[in-house]
């Protein structure tokens, strides 16, 4: 018998004023899964989270928890804990009062509240700060208090609204790991809103990419990263080098014909017509122009270096390939103007039939994911 989803969203539509922000979202989350809602500003990810929390009223669709509809329930009766982007700490309450608030609302005896507060304080490294008010805490400590307040009531579902975006980089990295470890240790279902790709990759079991109020792709971090289903997702996941190509039919199938800036490449199964090629800067291998021919399936591109900078680790080159400007990484600096060859291996070359709207929506045959075994997120 199939286990019922812990949290389900069916055909959800929501908006503000005349505008529709969510245009029919379907999402099913099993118990204990960590889902990251990833997207750029205005894509609807926070509206989706707030609808789940009960702070936004959907125009259509349903939200279910363990099969029971909660769409119309007020936020205080949904039994979900939320961590807010602004932390939303109460300036007049101490750390201990924050963490014990939800427990006091549930009518627990004082001794039990004190014990649980001490437990959460120890768990989050806040021991000794229980008497302080938010103004006397650092950003990282405030975030921990917000997390402690949410976790103290032992929620089944934890909603995280960009909880790390106001922290400096070092603390953010540390808290990422801590939140993930806590979620796994406690077995909580977590929905995490973020616009940070790396944060979503390292924290989540599953990533849901949102764009313009619709889900563009939903899958494991590896799947989203290695098999983006559209140009938009590929670009969002870092494949920002874009080449506009033209596939032609010829002897032996469809292929990319050779030109002054690329070698010919067979494109088996792809229809003739415009093609959008995307790859990450770190995926391309820089070669001398006279290097031996690349292995079959590798796209070899020829261009000139237009810029070179050192962000740390390796050199970042800007290259002119035909009319396009792309970036690549190299172990050594290159003089601007020097001619180079760029080899993009087939596994890291994302090809899409170029759509009319320029967002790379239509799948090219090479990017259609092969049937995968059902991944268990438990």
């Amino acid at each position: 018998m199939q286990e019922r989803d812990h949290l389900s969203v069916e055909g959800l539509q929501a908006g503000y004023g005349a505008g529709l922000v969510l245009k029919g979202i379907d999402l099913a989350v099993p118990k204990g899964q960590f889902v990251a809602l990833l997207g750029s500003s205005g894509c609807g990810k926070t509206t989706l989270l707030r609808s789940i929390a009960g702070f936004e009223t959907p125009r259509a669709g349903r939200i279910l928890r363990d099969g029971a509809e909660i769409t119309a329930l007020p936020p205080d009766r949904r039994g979900m804990s939320m961590v807010f982007q602004s932390y939303a700490l109460w300036p007049h309450k101490t750390v201990a009062q924050h963490i014990g608030y939800g427990l006091a609302l549930r009518g627990l005896p004082r001794a039990e509240i004190a014990a649980r507060v001490a437990e959460v304080l120890a768990m989050l490294g806040l021991a000794g700060l229980e008497g302080r008010k938010p103004a006397a805490l650092s950003g990282g400590q405030r975030q921990r208090v917000a997390l402690g307040r949410a976790l103290a009531v032992r929620p089944d579902i934890l909603l995280l609204d960009e909880p790390l975006s106001n922290l400096d980089a070092r603390i953010r990295l540390q808290l990422r790991g801590e939140i993930r470890a806590l979620q796994q240790a406690l077995g909580i279902t977590a929905i995490h809103v973020t616009h940070d790709r790396e944060e979503a990759m390292v924290m989540a079991d599953r990533i849901v990419i949102l764009d313009q109020g619709v889900i563009r792709q939903d899958g494991s971090p590896e799947e989203i990263y290695n098999r983006p289903n559209s140009g938009f997702v590929a670009a969002f996941m870092g494949a920002e080098n874009l080449l506009a190509l033209e596939a032609v039919a010829g002897d032996g199938g469809v292929r990319l014909p050779a030109s002054e800036w690329n070698r010919a490449l067979p494109l088996p199964g792809l229809r003739p017509g415009p093609v959008e090629a995307r790859f990450r800067a770190e995926a391309a291998v820089l070669q001398p122009v006279d290097a031996p021919e690349a292995a079959p399936g590798v796209l070899s591109l020829f261009g000139r270096v237009t810029g070179c900078s050192y962000p740390g680790g390796c050199w970042r080159l800007s290259l002119r390939i035909g009319q396009a400007q792309v970036e690549a990484l190299a172990p050594m600096p290159h003089v601007p103007g020097s001619a180079v060859r760029l080899d993009v291996p087939p596994a890291q070359l994302f090809l899409f039939a170029a759509p009319a709207d320029g967002r790379g929506d239509t799948h090219g045959p090479r990017t259609v994911p092969e049937p995968q075994p059902q991944r268990s997120f438990r």
Binding site: A53, F55, P75, D76, Q85, A88, Y101, L105
Partner: protein, 281 residues
Amino acid sequence: MPSPALPRHRSALPGLLLVAPALAMVLVFFVLPLAASVTGAFATEEGRSLANFAKIADLYLPDILFTLLVIGLSTLLIAVFSLAIAGYLTLGRNPRAVALLRWLYRWPLFIPFIVTAQVLRTFLAKNGMLNGGLELVGLVDPATASNWLDGRAIVFAFVWKQTPFVTLLVAGAMTSLDRGTIEAALNMGASRLRTLWDIVTPQVAGTLMTGLILSIVTMMSVLSVPMMLNATAPTTITADIAFRINAYGDYGVANALGVVSLLMTSGFAILYLRLGLKERT
């Protein structure tokens, strides 16, 4: 090359000239009459003494206590009602009800005290609308019904008139709160009433206190309401002051009553300042 610093007296003079008209106006029209009134409180035919205050202790102690009671009770009710209205405006889930309340609650702000008193005189009289309504639901027997025109009427008028003012300030403060702090409490499972009491009210306490202190000062100054709505003794200090001047031309006792009134409002102001200071530290 850095320019040489201007001599201090040169830079201060334009500032003094700018502030002089306003300062003169405050001194001539506010401070001087107040000082004259305070001095007048100690003036008697036999020279300077506390005789006027002794007369107040003899004649007007019940009225002073009555004023304190009426204004204290009114202030309490204003606090409760303004928090309730502003709380609903902030936490209400029915947008139409919120919009209607927002439109309606401000009306009394634009009605003068004397008109309020006149309206309530009709409303609270023995044969007024209030008793009529209570008779209809069987709560009052027409034969034994009494009028409400005593201290209760003054409290009614003060609350009716001042609640919108305090609500305006408190609702503004609630609007400027981080909405997340409210949502965090609701998300924890707090009811809206609990959220209002636990989370919202402490954050707007300063504004509420400011509104209440300003209301107290206004209520301490109102003459028309006690004159029109309170037919019996005791009455408020303002009515006593008017009586001493109009009936006896007794400016000494009137001034002394004014000083008592000033001390009472100062007491509330000091309480407010201390609370504010405690909050900051």
